[in-house]
Symmetry: C2
Subunit: 185 residues, 2 copies
């Protein structure tokens, strides 16, 4: 009985990830999620609460997964950037969910995109690499990390999934080279 | 009579810009646009066709306006970047419309975000500056312009409008300095 509940919850979760990534919060339809999960609307509201709460659950889980999927080595930031671009391109739903959150939630999206502890640890790792002279200190650590994420995210955005393999490699290399310029001592 | 029609069309256009920037295509409601414009749904469909066609009209007009608002000087790309960041921050509706188009249209958004002639002229101006040795040629002109736009756009995104003035200046300076590194000969 308990295992069934867990399996149902997971099917709802997966269907909701696909639905929100495609349509966003306003565009998502709970009845479409229910149909795709072989469940029903009442069950979804019981497990997750409102549509907004379901979106938060999906978004937080996906961001947490992503944060752990690509560990950061502050001494090799160009390589890190290249790996993250690849990871995002393989999982376009991550960037789409983050972008919907920003547009549809505005300031509230902090709850989703913050994950402040994990992010703060990355900033500290960059600061440490700067202190050891392995990364330029022309930018404060937090600013440098922001600039790198700008280059990564825009090049791994939804439109990128439609490019061919050569186009992907060209973008990935450009990001890597640009990050190398920013961190060069 | 004709002047009235022109004024009505403009009110619908302005109301639609605000509505689409806030809610996107799926989330926008034609009856809200009609109410804000002091018009009615039938009038909107008569002037603009479908909701999608109204979105295209609004998006194209806003992008065209923006393209002409900040002229690019390829010999001073860091200054250009700083000016565009400021322009986007003052007009957050532009980045929101572009982002909605990318999420809700996917490949079709090219129709909106392309504006290929204007963009191609910018690429050619960068290539010319490279030829004259005023801009580094470590990246092809098109790639360099893409990287610069990545830095500009992510730092002028919706979340930026919620920062205070110091935060804005810090971001703007970071973009300017990063672009300087990319173009440095």
């Amino acid at each position: 009985m308990k295992r069934d509940a867990q399996a149902t919850r997971q099917r709802i979760f997966d269907a909701a990830t696909a639905e929100f990534a495609q349509y966003g919060i306003a565009g998502a339809r709970i009845d479409r999620i229910a149909a795709a999960a072989g469940s029903n609307k009442a069950m979804i509201y019981t497990y997750f609460g409102s549509k907004d709460e379901l979106f938060d659950a999906v978004g937080l889980e996906q961001l947490n997964r992503h944060m752990n999927d690509v560990p950061m080595d502050a001494n090799h930031l160009p390589d890190y950037a290249a790996k993250v671009v690849e990871h995002y391109c393989q999982h376009p739903e991550i960037m789409r969910l983050v972008t919907w959150a920003r547009l549809e939630r505005g300031p509230d999206a902090g709850k989703l995109t913050g994950l402040l502890d994990a992010y703060q640890r990355k900033v500290e790792a960059v600061a440490q690499a700067q202190k050891e002279g392995k990364v330029s200190d022309r930018f404060p650590a937090a600013t440098l990390l922001e600039l790198i994420l700008c280059l990564i995210q825009t090049n791994a955005e939804p439109s990128a999934e439609f490019g061919d393999q050569d186009e992907f490699q060209r973008r990935q290399q450009a990001v890597k080279d640009a990050v190398a310029l920013l961190v060069q001592v």
